[in-house]
Amino acid sequence: MVAEVETSGSMQDRRRGGAASNLARSEQINGWLFIMPALVLLGIFMVYPILWSLWMSFQVGRGMNFSFGGFANIIRLTQDPVFIRALSNTLLFLAVQVPIMLMLALLFASALNDSKLWGRGFFRTAIFLPCVTSLVAYSVIFKSIFALDGIANQALLALQLIENPINWLSDPFWARVVVISAITWRWTGYNMIFYLAAMQNIDRSIYEAAKIDGVPTWARFWFITVPMLKPVILFTAVTSTIGTLQLFDEVNLLTNGGPSDATLTLSLYIYNLSFRFMPSFGYAATVSYVIVILVGVLSLIQFLIARDRRR
C-alpha cells in the first residue's frame, strides 16, 4: 500500500518534472531565437574581428601577402621610433587631458548644481552642447580659430599678451595644446552630466548640516561631494581613459599627427599603417593590441585605487 502510493507519487513527480523541463526547454529556445540576430551581428562585427586581429598580429608581410612571423611584430614595436613617439604622445595626452577635464567637469557640475545660480539651464546646455555637435564642423571651427590669422591670435594680440602671432598648428608644443583643448572642450560637458546627475541624488540637508557646522566651502566640496561621487568619478575616469587612448578624430582632422609626429597617436598610427602607408595589417593589429593592454591595465589600476577600503 505504502509502496504503491510512493511509486504513483514519484511517477507523478516525474511526469510533472518532464512537463516542466519541456516548458523550460521551449522557453530557452525562444530566448535564444530572440537574441540570435543580435548575437550573429555581434559575432560577425565584433568577436570575429577581435579574434582575427589577434591572429593577424602574429603575421608579417605587406598588403595581403602575409605569413606567420611569431613575435616579430612585438620585436618590431620595441625598435620602431614612430611607435614610441605615438605611444608617448598618447600617454602624454592621457596624463594631461583626463585629469584636467574631470576636474573641470566636477567644478562646473558643482557650480551648476547650485540652485541659486542665475541662468544655470543656459550654462548646462552650453557646456553639454559640444559633445553633440558634428565632429567635422567643430574641427573646422577649431582650425579657423587657431589659424595664423584666427581669432585666438587676434584676441591675444589685442590683449597684448603676445607680440607675434603663434603658429598654433605647426608648433609641436602649441599643436598639442590645441588638441588637448579641443578634446577637453568637446567632452567636459559630457562628463559633467554624470556628475550633475549624481549630485542631484545627494540629500541637500547634508550640505546644510555642514554649513551650519562651519565646514568651509572648499571642504564641503573636497570631503563631501568628491567622496560621495567616487563611483561616478571612477566610471568617468575609466571611460575617459579609454576615449583618450583611442584618440583619433581630433588629431586626424586638426593636425593630421603633425607637426613632425608631435601629435601622432596610437590610433592614428594604426590607421596610417593600415591605410596610408604600404599596408601592414599584421603590425597594425599588434599596435592595436597595445591599446587593448593599456586600457586593461589602466582600468585595473583605477579600480584598485578607488576600491572601497571598508571591506
Partner: protein, 359 residues
C-alpha cells in the same frame, strides 16, 4: 545667554508670504516646540533661525545680538535634520568630529568631545560603523551627537522622530527630555505630533498659516486655549465642537441652545457674546460627565467604541454631529446603541463664528 528673540519676522518666497509676522521670545534653557498643521511654516521659521533661509523682514536676536545677516556657523546653533543628514562615507566617529576639524580644535580634544557625546548617547559600541550599518534610532542619536560635540547655545530640531516607529519614538522622546536636563541648553523643536509637544515642551508655539496662534505652557494651552484652532489642535482626541446659539444673557452668564441635541439648554459662566449669535461649544472627550451630573444632558447614538484597557473612546453622533466621548467604564456598556452624557459648564469652551474664544 542663549535666548532667542523674534520681532515681526517675515519670510516671502517670491510673491508668496509664508511667515507673516512672528513675535516670539524663547528664554535661555527653554525647550520650545513649534506645532501646527503641515505647511504652516514651522520648518521655514526654524531654518530662518538657523540661517539657512534669509529673513525677508523683521529682527532675529540670539543671545542678545542681531543675527539676521550672521553666517549660520557663527550663530551658536546646531541643527538636527529630519533626514538625519549624516555623511554616508564617514564613520560615526568621523561624522561627529568632522566639523571640529575646521574649527582648529586639536585632535585629542576632538577625540575627547566625540567620546563624551558618545557616552551621553550610548553610542560607544557604534563609533566605527558607517551610517548605513545603523538603525533609524541609532542614526538619529548620531545626528544628535554631531550637534552635541559642537557645544551650541541653541539646538534646533526639525521633526527628528518622524522617521521612527511608534515604540522608538516614545523611547527617543524620553531620551530627548533627559538630554535637555543634562545639557541645559535652549532647544527649539519642530513637530506635528502634539503628544511630543505636550510631553517635551516648556513652551508650545501653535502656528497656523505663517502666524502664531498661541504660545504658552502645555497645560495652559490645554486648559485655556485662545481660539478654536488651538483648542482643536492641543489635546488628544481632538476637542468636540457642537453648534449652538446664544438664547439668553444675564449678568455673568449666557444660556445656549444646542441645535443638534433636541435644543438642550446649557448655561455657561461667561460675560461675552450677544443674544442670537451663532457660536460653537467646545467640550473635550475626557470632560463629559455621567447623565444627570449637572449642566445639560445629551443623548448620543454609538457608532464605534474603542476599548484601550484603562479607558475607552466612544465615537457617537447626534443630529449629524460626530463626537468622541471618553468613558472609563464603557467596557460594561457593550451592546448598547446609545448613551446619555452630560456637559459640565465649568469645563466647556465657547467660540464665536470667527473661532475666537468668548470669555
Amino acid at each position: 545667554m542663549s535666548s532667542v528673540k523674534l520681532r515681526d519676522v517675515r519670510k516671502s518666497f517670491g510673491h508668496v508670504e509664508v511667515i507673516k509676522g512672528v513675535d516670539l521670545d524663547i528664554e535661555d534653557k527653554e525647550f520650545v516646540v513649534f506645532v501646527g498643521p503641515s505647511g504652516c511654516g514651522k520648518t521655514t521659521l526654524l531654518r530662518m533661525i538657523a540661517g539657512l533661509e534669509t529673513i525677508t523682514a523683521g529682527n532675529l536676536d540670539i543671545g542678545g545680538e542681531r543675527m539676521n545677516e550672521v553666517d549660520p556657523s557663527k550663530r551658536g546653533i546646531a541643527m538636527v535634520f529630519q533626514s538625519y543628514a549624516l555623511y554616508p562615507h564617514m564613520t560615526v566617529r568621523e561624522n561627529m568630529g568632522f566639523a571640529l576639524r575646521f574649527a582648529r580644535v586639536p585632535k585629542d580634544e576632538i577625540a575627547r568631545q566625540v567620546n563624551e557625546a558618545a557616552r551621553i548617547l550610548a553610542l560607544d559600541p557604534l563609533l566605527d560603523r558607517y551610517p548605513k550599518q545603523l538603525s533609524g534610532g541609532q542614526r538619529q542619536r548620531v545626528a544628535i551627537g554631531r550637534a552635541i560635540v559642537r557645544d551650541p547655545e541653541v539646538f534646533l530640531f526639525d521633526e527628528p522622530l518622524s522617521n521612527l516607529d511608534a515604540e522608538l519614538r516614545v523611547h527617543m522622546r524620553i531620551e530627548l527630555a533627559r538630554l535637555h536636563k543634562e545639557l541645559k541648553t535652549t532647544i527649539v523643536y519642530v513637530t506635528h505630533d502634539q503628544v511630543e509637544a505636550m510631553t517635551l515642551a516648556d513652551k508650545i508655539v501653535v502656528m497656523r498659516d505663517g502666524i502664531i496662534e498661541q504660545a504658552g505652557r502645555p497645560l495652559d494651552l490645554y486648559d485655556d486655549p485662545a481660539n478654536q484652532f488651538v483648542a482643536g489642535f492641543i489635546g488628544s482626541p481632538k476637542m468636540n465642537f457642537l453648534a449652538a446659539t446664544i438664547v439668553e444673557k444675564a449678568a455673568g452668564n449666557v444660556t445656549l441652545e444646542l441645535a443638534n441635541h433636541g435644543r438642550a439648554r446649557l448655561t455657561l459662566p461667561l460675560t461675552g457674546g450677544t443674544v442670537g449669535e451663532a457660536v460653537t461649544l467646545g467640550v473635550r472627550a475626557e470632560h463629559f460627565g455621567e447623565a444627570g451630573a449637572g449642566g445639560a444632558d445629551i443623548s448620543l447614538d454609538i457608532d464605534v467604541a474603542e476599548h484601550l484597557g484603562s479607558t475607552s473612546y466612544v465615537y457617537a453622533s447626534a443630529g449629524g454631529e460626530a463626537l468622541v466621548v471618553e468613558r472609563e467604564e464603557s467596557r460594561h456598556e457593550n451592546g448598547r446603541s446609545h448613551i446619555v452624557v452630560s456637559i459640565d459648564p465649568e469645563r466647556a469652551y465657547l467660540f464665536d463664528s470667527q473661532g475666537q474664544r468668548i470669555r
